[in-house]
Structures are given as C-alpha cells and as structure tokens.
Amino acid sequence: MRHVISALVQNTPGVLAHVAGMFSARGFNIDSLVVGRTDDPRFSRMTIVAIGDDRTIEQVRKQLDKLVTVVRVRDFQDTEYVERDLMMLRVAATPEKRAEIIELVGLFRGRVIDVAKQSLTIELSGTEHKLEALIDLLRPYGIRELARTGVIAMQRGRQSDGRTEDDEQ
C-alpha cells in the first residue's frame, strides 16, 4: 500500500541524514523523499512516499515521530488530500514532430519551457499517475532526459468544494 507521509522537521544540519538513515536501518522502502522550506525558517517539510502494509507504515510513522528533530508527522492515508509531483522532461522532437508533441503536452496542461532544434523541454505537474501517463505517451518519440521532484502533498481545505484538476483528468 502506498502512503504519503509528511513530516515537519527542524531545520538543523543532519536531519535529512537522520531520517534517511532511519529508513535504511529499519529496512523501510521509500519511493520518494522531498525536502523543502516552509514559511517558517526554523522548519522544513519532508514529504515521503512509502510503500508497505499497514503495520509497516504505522512503524514508519512512529519511528519518524520518535526522532528528536522531527516535529510533526502526518500520514495522508484516509484523509482528503491533494498531491503533486513536478517533472521536467526533454523529448526528442524534429521540426515535423513538434506540433504533435506540443498538442499532447497541451492536453495534459503541461508547458513547453525550452525549444531546441531537435528537442523540446516540457514541464508538467500533477499526480504521479498523470506524469506517468504523459511519459508513456512521449516515450516513442525518445525521452532524452527526465527529472522529477517527487511528491508533495497537502490536506484539502475544509471549505473546499472538492474539485481540483485531478478530477478533470
């Protein structure tokens, strides 16, 4: 089972090593781990996508919470939340294929951020699922380079009407 877990951590040296070390020492599998600043300079946010059965994930959550430098841990499982992954992708694109690719990217609400003679660089954000769908479609053209940030997530606001881009796909 895939869980998205968010941890607010103290912005001190070694925190990333501590968290990553704990995961490897305890044999937990992680798909992605993203660290970024928050609005408060004292804290960073880590978003971790972990795979495991309920018992393993429960251990992951508790072990994270136990680290002195981890302030708060939340598992988004069973909550209403939105998640986003950001991707940059350079795909081979001869002038003849360019329009075709741009159209595909447009359908995904992606953006072309760089155009070269033989390639296009595309930016797309969305769920992992959505990103993978575009990757699959572009693969036949020849993917030259691909970079993804990994997932970040947030609980939905309470007054939210519940509609987001996800639903449109």
């Binding site: 103290q10 040296p13 070694g14 070390g21 004292r42 508790k62 919470d65 136990k66 002195v68 430098t69």
Partner: protein, 568 residues
C-alpha cells in the same frame, strides 16, 4: 519548552566555552566524569583542573562509557563521559550502542576539530554525529561557545526523560576556547521532542477489563518497570490480582524472586515455569518490555493463546514484533497506579496451582560433580551476599547462569548488557556502579573471554580505590559460542578455545588482590575471603569447561519447545 537549567540566575558572561561546559556539569549534578583526554579537549581539561566534578581517567574510552553506564543503571542518574575527537569518539561507539539498546541515560561529550576545519579530513577528525546518530537517542554538533550551555542542558534532558538513552554532544575545540560575550540562552529549543504526559483512560479501562476477565494472566515485565520506578506498583498489582510475574534480563529483581508469584526470567534461557506460563496464558500483560527475539523465540507462536496488553512509553515498541490487542502508551508507573484501584481481587487458585506445580517440577538446576560448577559459584555468591549485592556481568554463559541462579530481590541490582550483548561490559560497568554506590558491595561475575576484553580497567579501580570484586568463571572457552557449536554444529569447536594465562596473577600485577579456586569445597570460603578483602579483588574460578546453559529454546523454536538438556 522546558528551561530547567537557567533557574540559578547565574551570569556566565566572560567564561570560556570550556568553563561553561564545566558549569553545566555542575548544574546537571554530574558526580563523576569518566574519560580520556586528547588534543581538542585541552581547553576542557584546563577547565576541569579546577572543577568540583571529579574526573576519572580510564584506560580506554570503552571503559569510560561502560562505567558511566554502570553508574546510570545502578543509580538511575545520567552517566557522563568524555572522549577526544577521532579515535576517542570511535572508541565510544560500542558503549553508545550498548546504552541505546538498553535505554540507559548517558551524555557522552566528544571533542571535535576546529569548526573551520570540519569536513577537511583534519587530524583526528571523524563525523562523530554522523557515526553515532544510528546508535544514540540524539547527537548534536556544537560549533559556538554560546550554544554549549543550551545543548548540554538539552542533552541531559533528552537522555533522562521519556524512554531514556545516550546523547552525544560533539563540541568543536574553538567553541571551547571562545569567550561568552553575551548571556547565553539555556532555553531548550526542542519543538520535536514532546513527552507523553497523558494516558488514554479508555485504554487503561480496556486493559483493566481484560485483566479482570482473564483466567490465566501473566505479567511479562521489562526494564521499563525499573526505569519508571514502577516496582512497588507492579508488586501491588500482581498481588491484588494474583498474577504471576516473569522478568526479562533487563528487569531482574524488579519482582522479588522469593515471592511465590515470581516466575523468574523468561525466554531463550528462561525458566521452564515462565516459558510454559507464557505459552499457556490467556492474557499477557507486557509492561516496559519490547518482545525481543531472545524473549519470544518463534514469534508466531509466542503467547499464542493470549490476548496481549502492551504498556510502554515508546509507541514504536508497540506492535513492532508482536501485535498488541490493547496498547497503552505512557509511563509504566503512572499506568499501573491508575489501573490498581480498578483491578478486582481474584484468587485464581487453579492457575496458580498450575504455576506452583511447574515451579516445583522445573527449578533452575545443575548436576554437581567433582569440578567447580559455575552455577554453584553463583548460588554461593547469592547466599553469601544475602541476595543484596549489585551484580554486573559480561556476556555469555556466565551471564545467563547469573540471571538464573543469583536470586534477585530488588531493582537496579543486576547490571548486564541485554540488547547488544556486549562482552567486556562487566568490569567497567561494575566499577561505574561502585562509583555510584560507595560503600555497597559490587561484584562482577565475568567470563574469561569477556573479562579479557576490558580487564585493563582493574587499574582504574585500583587507582581510584573502588573496591569492586570480580569473579571470573574461567572455562577457557568462549563458552556460549562453544555451547552452540556443541549442540548445533556436531561439536566441531572452531575459534572458541580460549586458553587463559594466570588471570589472578595479572590482577595482582595491576595492584588488585588475585585469588583462585579450583575445588568445589573451597568455593564458599574463597567467596567469603573475596568479600572480606579490602580493595579490588579478582577471584578466578576454574570451572567445568563444557557445562551448558539450560533450559534452552533453540533459534526458531517456540518457548514451550525448550531443551531441558541433561536436567530432564
């Protein structure tokens, strides 16, 4: 955020970082500091020169940290040690891991190279916080004088609260030479360190209901009971509800073994009565214990007829190895005291009759012969010390026999490496316990292999007049490994023969009294002589070399599938 340490209202302006370090030792009530100096510690040692905190120079940093550990285990106070950068710090690793596995409160201070050199492979530089993080509760690097006070105060706070553990404070040398120009803040900055203060009454009620309904309950208690000071609450609860109690290696003595409800130790070398009771019980109440594999045997069949209540302060311990039906997270003493008035008095005579029958049928036993039996030595020590001494051990057969045969009466009496199983722990741990308990009788029951690893610290005991007594059960083997080779590898002894020179003579050369006993009939007298001789004494007992520890639950077997060995 707590701010325990600035209550004195003192001014620290004008002190160097090293002097501030010393102030913090005083403020935290450190009674002795164990360690070895080195280049980056020179400023600190200069501050210690005038300190009221005595510094104990050990022969090895491992000795220093195990001494701090022995002091902490035997007193409940935070142990403290000091080591230089590089090899000094790496020599602490075993001691840190040892304390971490057994939840022992320690603060280990290490020197670090100048902050501007960090990362440059400077002389005696290692990434101490990086290396120690996986084996400590917390590890911090301090690069500025003004952070020394706060970081030290936080370290002691973290070490002693919640589930205790070792904390490393790695201090760059330039932080110790710099002067404090402003009043340093000692206020803790630990937003991620929250202590659990409230317990769910709902969980307590569920646990109580389960206990009141149980026909065949067993209390399985671990080191957490000692740490939280729950010994009396445990006794009251066990007696009111008439529940038999089995203890782990970490909690020997927290339930008086002369009590009819005592099942003694459980697990791989536990008593048959404890193991049968656990396998037959309908409710297992685990308190401050963590279902270690040496306790559970084959985990799928552990307490397989029972519902499991698990009381522990560390939420990660719950359902980690064995799923708890009723988890109760919090302090053991607090929880047991809240449960007590809700527990119904029961007689449970049928269950207790069964327990009594097992106890009568399967006491810990051995077969005497013409040689000195190691178990007999331990029984004699128990008898001649009135079961009241502080006993440390190494790791191996002698450790298991000590747990089985001494006859434990009170908590903090048994000082032994449980989780890590660290050979060499005994000698320094006993010395540390002696420092923490002046005037009390402290005995290290050691194996020849374990003793050899750290016996050099006898010199420390001699120098600082610590009258520890050390009994070496000398079987000329790494006995525990030999036992496994005998039982599971067709007696193909490989790398376990351990011929010893005259260990009593070595002890004498180090300034201790050295004694030797080789005849069963002399055992009691030699122990009496040892106890009555002033100063450190090493008594070497030439014991039956191929004696085995029984009962034994082989790896992968269930607790009820014990091998009773030649005792059956």
């Amino acid at each position: 955020m707590s701010n325990e340490s600035s209550k004195s209202g003192k001014s620290y302006v004008g002190l160097t970082g090293a002097q501030m370090f010393n102030e913090m030792l005083v403020e935290e009530g450190v009674e002795v500091l164990f360690g070895v100096p080195g280049g980056v510690l020179l400023p600190i040692f200069d501050a210690l020169h005038k300190s009221t905190v005595p510094f104990i120079l050990t022969r090895h940093e491992q000795g220093a940290i195990h001494m701090a550990d022995g002091l902490a285990r035997s007193t409940g106070k935070v142990g403290c040690c000091l080591a230089t950068s590089g090899p000094g710090a790496t020599n602490l690793i075993t001691g840190l891991a040892n304390a971490y596995m057994d939840s022992v409160p320690l603060v280990a201070i290490t020197g670090q190279v100048r902050s501007t050199l960090i990362g440059n492979d400077a002389f005696q530089e290692v990434d101490t916080t990086g290396i120690t993080r996986p084996v400590t509760k917390h590890a911090v690097l301090v690069k500025k004088a003004e952070d020394i006070g706060r970081c030290m105060s936080e370290a002691f706070h973290i070490a002693r609260t919640g589930r205790p553990g070792p904390v490393v404070v790695d201090i760059a040398v330039d932080a110790t030479t710099a002067k404090l120009t402003e009043e340093p803040s000692l206020e803790h900055d630990l937003p991620g360190y929250r202590l659990k203060t409230t317990v769910h009454m709902r969980q307590i009620k569920m646990a109580v209901d389960a206990i009141n309904e149980a026909q065949r309950p067993v209390l399985y208690v671990g080191g957490g009971v000692i740490i939280s000071g729950a010994t009396e609450a445990l006794r009251a609860l066990a007696h009111k509800a008439r529940i038999p109690v089995t203890t782990t290696l970490m909690s020997m003595g927290t339930f008086d073994e002369s009590d009819p409800l005592a099942l003694q130790m459980l697990g791989m070398h536990g008593s048959a009565s404890a193991n049968y009771a656990v396998q037959d019980c309908d409710l297992l109440i685990a308190v401050g214990a963590r279902f270690d594999d040496r306790v559970t045997g084959k985990v799928d069949t552990f307490a397989h007829k029972a519902k499991i209540v698990h009381i522990d302060i560390d939420a990660t311990s719950i359902s980690k190895n064995v799923r708890a039906d009723i988890p109760v997270v919090g302090d053991a003493k607090d929880i047991l005291e809240k449960m007590l008035p809700l527990i119904e008095s029961k007689d449970r005579s049928q269950w207790l009759a069964q327990i009594a029958q097992w106890k009568a049928k399967y006491p810990f036993r051995y077969v005497p012969n013409a040689k000195v039996k190691p178990q007999a030595v331990i029984e004699a020590i128990g008898k001649l010390t009135n079961h009241d001494a502080i006993i440390a051990t190494g790791v191996g057969q002698h450790q298991m026999w000590t747990a089985q045969f001494y006859g434990w009466r009170r908590p903090r009496q048994f000082i032994s490496s449980g989780g890590l199983g660290t050979m060499g722990f005994g000698v320094p741990a006993a010395i540390g316990a002696q420092f923490g308990n002046p005037g009390k009788l402290v005995i290290d029951v050691d194996g020849d292999g374990s003793f050899s690893m750290t016996m050099v610290e006898i010199m420390t005991a001699v120098r600082y007049n610590q009258p520890v007594k050390i009994v070496v059960l000398d079987n000329n083997y790494l006995g525990m490994v030999r036992q496994w080779q005998e039982l599971f590898y067709g007696k193909r002894y490989s790398g376990v023969h351990h011929p010893c020179p005259d260990l009593a003579g070595i002890a004498r050369a180090m300034g201790a009294t050295g004694l030797r006993v080789s005849e069963p009939s002399d055992v009691e007298d030699s122990i009496r002589t040892m106890i009555n001789t002033e100063g450190p004494v090493v008594l070497v007992a030439d014991v039956e070399p191929e004696e085995n520890v029984f009962p034994m639950v082989a790896a992968g077997k269930s607790l009820h599938e014990m091998d009773m060995g030649r005792l059956a």
